[in-house]
Structure formats: C-alpha cells, structure tokens
C-alpha cells in the first residue's frame, strides 16, 4: 500500500482512457491493469454528439479515482479555467496539469506550467504537473506547493522509454520527499519496470496499453512489471561491477588454476 495525495492505494499503475478501439476494451484493460486511478479529459461538446455522456456513464460505473487533465492548454489561464471546469464535472480537486509549449513533441511550457501550478495550488487543487526531467523546473514546481511531480520519460505517445535515465535518477535522489510518477513515453513493460527500479512511485501511461495489439493482455503485463519493479527497488539490487565475480567458489574445483593476472 502507498499514499498518493492522502489517498491509500494498492496499485502504482495509473492508466489513461484514450485511444482504445472501444469502450468495452477500455473497461477490460482498466480491470486487467488493477489501476485505481484513471485519467480523463474534457472537450468542447457539440449538441448532436452524445458520445461524451456514454463514456462518462461507463466510467462512473467503475468507481475509480479520476485524474482529469488540462490537455490542449498552452497558457496558464486556459489551464486554470479548464481545471475549474474539471473540478465541477468530475468532483475532484485532483488535476493533471498539462501546459504544452511545442506541438511537435508536446513538451511542457515550463514558464506557463509554473504559473498555472502556483494559481491552482492556491485555489485548493491537488496538482499533478506533467513536467520534463529538468531538476530546476521540478524544484520550482515544488516551491509552488506541488507535492507530486510527473516527469516525462520521453515525448507523449512515443514509446521510447527512459531517454534520460540519469536525469530521472537525479530527480529521485534530490527530491526524496516528493511523489514522482513517470508520465509519458513509456512503451514497454520493461521500461516501466526500469523506472520503478529507480525508485519512482508510480507509472502513468495510456498509448502503451491502448495501442498494443492486445490491450487487455498488455495491461496485465504492465501491472506485473510495475509490481516487479517496485519489489526490486524495495529489495535493493546488487551493485554493478566491472570485474567478474564468480557465483560459484572456484577454489578446489577440478581444473581450476589460480593464474597470475596479466
């Protein structure tokens, strides 16, 4: 069990609800993942399109904690307004804060992100900022009152995994009291496991499951990988070393000769 924003959870897997081929597959994937938190969004609804209401009804039936996002926002003011709208609809003060600075790699605009985070914390939101792996930006967000950060592994939907493990290790080491959840860029369970072995508190992903050939099976695979990675972190991995060190003691084994090293 672990605590995320005052909520006790058993799963460290947060799952998105987008890109599934059907709502039925989405529901089955969420169930297979064991996720207790799912991300949602808001869109401008045209009067003749009632698909949003269908999705909302299905989601409510799952009784999960919702984490709305501010996708599509480029300025702090837009993100703040959308967050307030999300709070009213989804009845939660949790908000995944996305303020995008570039349309190609969807990386956050760090200046607008900090500005929005400060305002939203003051308005009583629990802010989950989607950020980069930049340590100084992370510190600024923590200074604003964010107790959770969501650094990217690589661009959203890219599936490239941890492009800068060193930077992510730095964040973990330098911010031991901050909840760190990898968000964006995870494509394979091994990548999620790698992040968890670094000591990250959780993984948020969407495309890696929704766009898999078999999303429900992939959700299960990620569930197991995230669990394994956490167990490995808690168990403490052996240190890496450059020289070989035999697992079997070679002294007195047949044919072993202690040769002088060249």
């Amino acid at each position: 069990m672990w605590t995320l924003a005052d909520r006790l959870l058993s799963s460290r897997f947060l799952l998105g609800t987008a890109h599934y081929s059907s709502l039925e597959i989405m529901q089955k994937a969420i169930h297979a993942s064991g996720a207790e938190i799912v991300t949602v969004s808001l869109k401008r609804q045209l009067p003749q399109d009632k698909s949003g209401a269908d999705f909302w009804s299905q989601l409510q039936a799952l009784h999960l904690q919702l984490l709305p996002n501010t996708a599509g926002c480029r300025r702090a003011e837009e993100a703040v307004t959308l967050a307030e709208m999300a709070r009213e609809i989804f009845q939660t003060s949790w908000i995944k804060l996305e303020v995008i600075g570039d349309d190609y790699n969807l990386q956050p605009d760090p200046f607008e992100l900090v500005k929005a985070a400060r305002i939203l914390v003051q308005k009583g939101f629990e802010v989950f900022p989607y950020t980069t792996d930049d340590f100084v930006l992370a510190e600024r967000l923590v200074d604003c009152g964010c107790r959770i950060l969501m650094p990217w592994a690589s661009p959203i939907g890219s599936g490239k995994g941890l492009l800068n493990p060193y930077a992510l290790e730095v964040l973990r080491a330098r911010l031991p009291k901050v909840t760190l959840i990898i968000d964006a860029g995870i494509g394979k369970p091994s990548q999620a496991l790698q992040a968890m072995e670094l000591g990250y508190d959780g993984i948020l992903l969407n495309s890696a499951v929704a766009l898999a050939t078999k999303p429900v099976l992939m959700a299960k695979a990620f569930r197991e990988a995230i669990s394994a990675g956490r167990a490995a972190f808690e168990a403490g991995c052996m240190p890496e070393r450059n020289l070989a060190s035999p697992s079997t003691s070679l002294l007195d084994t047949p044919f072993w000769r202690q040769e002088k090293q060249k």
């Binding site: 609800t17 987008a18 808001l42 609804q45 909302w56 307030e84 009213e88």
Partner: protein, 69 residues
Amino acid sequence: MIKLTLNQQAFSVKEGSDLLALLQSRLGPELVPFCAVAVNRRFVPRERYQQIILEEGDAVDLVLPMQGG
C-alpha cells in the same frame, strides 16, 4: 437577437437570455449536469448559470467529459 459564439461557432439568442436557458436549449436538460461552462474564458459555476445574462459578443465554451491520457 444578440450574437455570440458557442464553442467558437456563431450563435444568436434572444436579448436577455440567461446562460441556463442557452444550455438547456442546446444540450437538453438531461446533459446540463454533465457539462461545465466558461464565458469569455472565465469559469462559471453551475449555481450561477441562471444569473448570467448573455451579452452581444460573449464567447461561451461548453465542455463535457471525454477520454484522455
């Protein structure tokens, strides 16, 4: 009649119309509880819908839940 925009589309309503009436006419009363609204980029809480009298040039943004990552 006054002209405004609803989700960036041109729209006309009777002068003196309130926001709740607009939403009920465009969405239907059953969907109003599922939506959230901003007028001129400012969030309007649900309890104030009837108090907001729409004016010429207002920009109304109406959102509903959708899937997201």
